[in-house]
Structure formats: C-alpha cells, structure tokens
Amino acid sequence: MSLVFYLFAALTLAGGLAAVLLKNTIHCALALTVAFAGLALLFLDLDAQFAGFAQILVYIGAVAILVVFAILLTRSSETPKDGVYSKNWLAGLAIAAGVFAVLAWAVLQSAGGLPQGAAATPAVTVLQIGNALLGRYVLPLEIVALLLTAAMIGAVIVAMHEKERAQR
C-alpha cells in the first residue's frame, strides 16, 4: 500500500468522522463533501477513472448540493439546545463499534485468502465501459433510467403535497 492510499484514506475517514460528529449541520454537509472527494480520489487511485469521475459528478455535484438545500429549507442549521445526539446514542455507538469489530475481524481472518499483491493495472477505456453498458448491461441500464425518472417524479410529488391540501 502506498503513501498516497494512506493519505486519501485518512482524508476520507476524517471527512466522514467530521460529518458525523460536528454540531453545525452546514459544517456536517461540507465535511460530507470532503469525504465524497476523498472517496473519488481513492477510486482514481484504484484505477477506476470512470467511477471516480461519476462519484465527483453525482455525489459532490448533486447529492451534496441537495443536502445543503434540504438543510436550508428545513432551517436545521442552528444547533438545538438539548444536544445533537439521540437519547440512546450509547446503544447506537455500541452497535456501530460491534459491527466494525466483526467486519475487521472477518477481513483480517480472510486476509490470507484474498488476492495478494498488486495485480497488473487493468487497461479499461471508456469505450469498453460504454460497450458493456449498452451490450451486456443494457437491461439494468434501462431499469436505472426508469428508476431515476420515477424517483424524480416521486420526489416532486412528495414535496408538492402540502399546497394541494391547503386548497381543498
């Protein structure tokens, strides 16, 4: 593992921790953006250029902006007086720590069976990805297109509901 990998991993984990721990919700959204950027860098480090740039476009370009809009629309940027953590935060923390312990144990136990060392860099071009998307994966692609349309219409309908009821 190279120094670059450690740097990107540290950036991602620091962004994730800050997104979960900070008190101000806007700061949380910004830290989330840092975590997304760190993940995109990790994808680029793993030679997945297309996935890395898709991550930047979709997550930093769309999801982070959506989160900021939602925070502003719900006026939840001011810190509540009675703390930002739930009443049973200790149980949640214990569950998360337990899940991490199990996952880390599983990874370390099976580390010997995993593919060792760095494989040769896969030479994947965007042409190959496009051919695969419109060849072997064309049905999932169409289903994702349908899902995105349905989600867009659904989000608009869910968010518009109030005005309709007020007119009745």
Binding site: A29, A96, F100, L108, P115, A132, E162
Partner: protein
C-alpha cells in the same frame, strides 16, 4: 497487520467508513444527518466493489465497476426521495428531530 495487502487495506477503510456512517445514522437526532450517515454507508460499499474489481482475477470483465456505477445511480435516487420526505416531514411537524417523531398518525 502482518500482511497488509492493498485489498485488505481497502476493505478495512471501507469497514471503518461503514461503521462511522452507521454510528452517525444511529446516534444523530436530525433526520438529514441520518441520511448523511446512510450515504456514507453506501459509499463504503462502493469502495468495496471497486477494490474487489481492481484486485480480483478478472478486472477486464468490469463486473464490480458496473455494480459500483449502478449503485451510485440508485444512491442518487435514494437521496432525492429521502430529502424530499424530510422536507415534507418538516412542513408537517415543524421539526426534523427524530426523537420528537413518535406518532404514526399525523
């Protein structure tokens, strides 16, 4: 770690990121921050997919990469609907505090 293979390192980073997201989703009161935690968990899963694609025996088959790309698209749909629901709940209950939402009936 005695044998720090690149794949195991990626998997450990993904496990840690998943746990951070899970802790955020379980401990925060604000509904938007719970969604942020869920996004972090989805991203950790994507990192696993990309890592297995990169270090697996057949990277030219593109299976893990395609899985990650579709997962990113589905996560975008999930974020849009989830945040729309949070905005609607805020209009209805004047709050995004999940501890205050203890009624099924509006």
């Amino acid at each position: 770690m005695s044998q720090a293979t690149p794949l195991a390192g990626c998997l450990l980073v993904a496990a840690l990121l998943f746990s951070i997201g899970l802790a955020g989703a379980l401990t925060r009161r604000n509904a938007i921050l719970v969604l942020i935690g869920i996004e972090l968990m989805l991203n950790a899963a994507n990192l696993n997919l990309i890592a297995f694609w990169r270090y697996g025996p057949h990277p030219e088959a593109l299976t893990g990469m395609m899985f990650a790309i579709f997962s990113i698209a589905v996560a975008a749909a999930e974020a849009a609907v989830g945040l729309g629901l949070v905005i609607q709940v805020h209009r209805h209950a004047r709050s995004t505090d999940l501890d205050a939402m203890n009624r099924m009936k509006g």
